[in-house]
Symmetry: C2
Subunit: 360 residues, 2 copies
């Protein structure tokens, strides 16, 4: 079978160097050799996130949700008051996590497809918040929020800032120290373009202090254990070793190819090419503030989910469907992973053919 | 570089079919195709665990510890009273989890290297326990506990039975229904011989009822979500898709080769061969009740950790070191994963050479 082309938002396609590591046996990991690799992973993530010397990186074997929950339960208490940007199912997930763990919060329910504005944030000025929580790219609807605006607001209100950048890291500009971020989350299967199974967090000094001050309420997600073991390049529990080796190879490859900025430009070029060409097809872009990682589209004539199924079953192409009430209305086309302009060509050729067959 | 031979207790070596899947792109997974694979995984795990039609299997992206904690927090409450077999660092981990989550418990601290006896258990008869928790193979010290004894005790005392069989499943006899087990845990990187990153649980009807009756206290480890999504062969969060595909290939391979019983016999033959031959070397076996998965050894003349380092650095062989106070005293040789008698030959050739060099 010919290999599928993957335009989803993750898992995405991997480079040969990542796939080669997947083809090998997993090494034993309680060794100096593996510790060295983990410390290099930390160093390169910090470099690409533009973090500072005192910041730390921890790696969790789990999906992005594991790190979202770990961030909340290790740093917030019932004495905090969080402000959550809720613009879709991932914002809703932070709300759910705060509910389960009795963290006081208010949420800003965003209108679908729209970015943040200063006017929206101004209403929440000086209201006693301690913490700001945002999925900087609300992947479910393809809306990217303005980090400069958020940074200004947090600085003015002295807020602890938690940024889920799972699908945004390496695709959009994000500067950990400059933007005053305390926790930044990402995952292995997005722009890092490795198999899913690892999520990771960059932690500021302030975040580390909050972690050490708080009593453990979940052993597996305890970041005190992760930080302590991380000092020597290890993890408290057996991690997804192979994926951590793949992340290492991928980070070094990005470094060799010019670093995070070059990777961002590469992804942006793919997104720009796609967005220019999709104008001639019966779709409407449904976000006024996009990440480079994904384009959310509303098909004008047919069901979004039907397009997903036809592309998958008849053209060997995955695009990303939506769930729930957006299922028939919205589909998403990703620009991360080992994609090229020639893959865009193949997607548009498929759309041309579908148009001819009256399937668009 | 020639590939290392891996005699650790996990991650272990994988078959070609598993490595081939690792060499491929991760597919998009919110599809009917992936659901089918997951339902097949559930079916084969249930078959190999000798579970019943009403039992369910859930897959957690995380290490074994994630499933150990998920088992406790989803089924036990402050009204339970658990009896924990604590024979090493994995028994201690259950104690730690019960402490964090305020689950009342008593522990039976086992003497190192010794199995359970009826006399030990009899002392805990009729003491108001609701739950029995055991690492059936305490991997840290290589002691395998008698499941028939435990089953009799639990039956008599009507106990909910949680069995961590992480390193024992497929290596030792275990019959979910016959042994009255309510939760059985295992992981991808032990006898399943896939990369680490997935742990899984078989859940009895009684366990499922406890799960649905209990309020969620951790979103990521919420087994209600896992069970609900599992009905349609999906997971609530993006799972380690590649490892789940590898588990599928491996389960089908075991099935084709005669099922769980054949795999157990294959592992036992490797363990028996090793145990017969190690008698002629300056080691003492330090367990009176072993799993087929691993042989724990005390070297009579030199440091256990030095042997680990020499084999790794000079012979291309990993054996499993111990941590903490056992570091210099005990090492472990595993018999799970894609090992053969010819690998045993290579290990003994290395030991012969070390003997000549006065390193044993």
């Amino acid at each position: 079978m010919e290999e599928m082309i993957n335009f989803t938002v993750g898992p995405v396609m991997s480079d040969d160097i990542v796939k080669k590591i997947g083809s090998q046996n997993t090494p034993y990991f309680r060794t100096a050799e593996f510790s060295e690799i983990m410390l290099e992973n930390e160093k390169l993530i910090k470099k690409f996130a533009k973090a500072s010397a005192d910041d730390k990186v921890v790696f969790i074997t789990g999906s992005g949700t594991a790190s979202m929950e770990a961030a909340i339960i290790n740093t917030l208490t019932e004495n905090d008051k969080a402000l959550i940007i809720n613009g879709g199912s991932f914002g809703e997930r932070f709300v759910q996590i705060c509910n389960i763990h009795h963290i006081p919060y208010d949420e800003i329910k965003m209108e679908m497809g729209h970015g943040l504005t200063k006017e929206i944030l101004d209403k929440y000025d000086n209201k006693g918040y301690t913490t700001f929580i945002v999925n900087i790219h609300e992947t479910s609807t393809g809306v990217h929020y303005d980090l400069d605006l958020i940074h200004d607001f947090c600085k003015k209100n002295k807020l602890f800032l938690i940024v889920d950048a799972i699908s945004s890291f390496l695709a959009d500009e994000i500067e950990f120290t400059h933007h005053g971020i305390d926790i930044m989350i990402t995952g292995s299967q997005k722009a890092l373009a490795c198999p899913p199974g690892i999520s990771l967090m960059v932690l500021s000094k302030k975040a580390q202090k909050r972690i050490y001050d708080k009593e453990t309420c979940c052993l597996y997600l305890d970041l005190k254990e992760a930080l302590k073991n991380g000092e020597r390049g290890q993890t408290p529990w057996t991690p997804a070793v192979t994926i951590l080796l793949q992340i290492n190879a991928r980070l070094k490859e990005i470094e060799v190819n010019g670093g995070a900025e070059s990777e961002r430009k590469r992804i942006k070029a793919l997104a720009d090419d796609f967005r220019n060409r999709i104008k001639n097809y019966p779709f409407e872009i449904v976000s006024d503030s996009m990440s480079n990682a994904v384009t959310p589209l509303h098909p004008l004539n047919v069901s979004a989910y039907d397009i997903f199924l036809t592309l998958k079953d008849e053209y060997g192409i995955w695009i990303c469907p939506n769930g729930g009430e957006l299922k028939d209305k919205v589909l998403r086309v990703g620009h991360i992973g080992a994609l090229t302009i020639s893959d865009n060509d193949k997607l548009f050729a498929a759309l041309d053919d579908m148009k001819k067959r009256n399937l668009l």
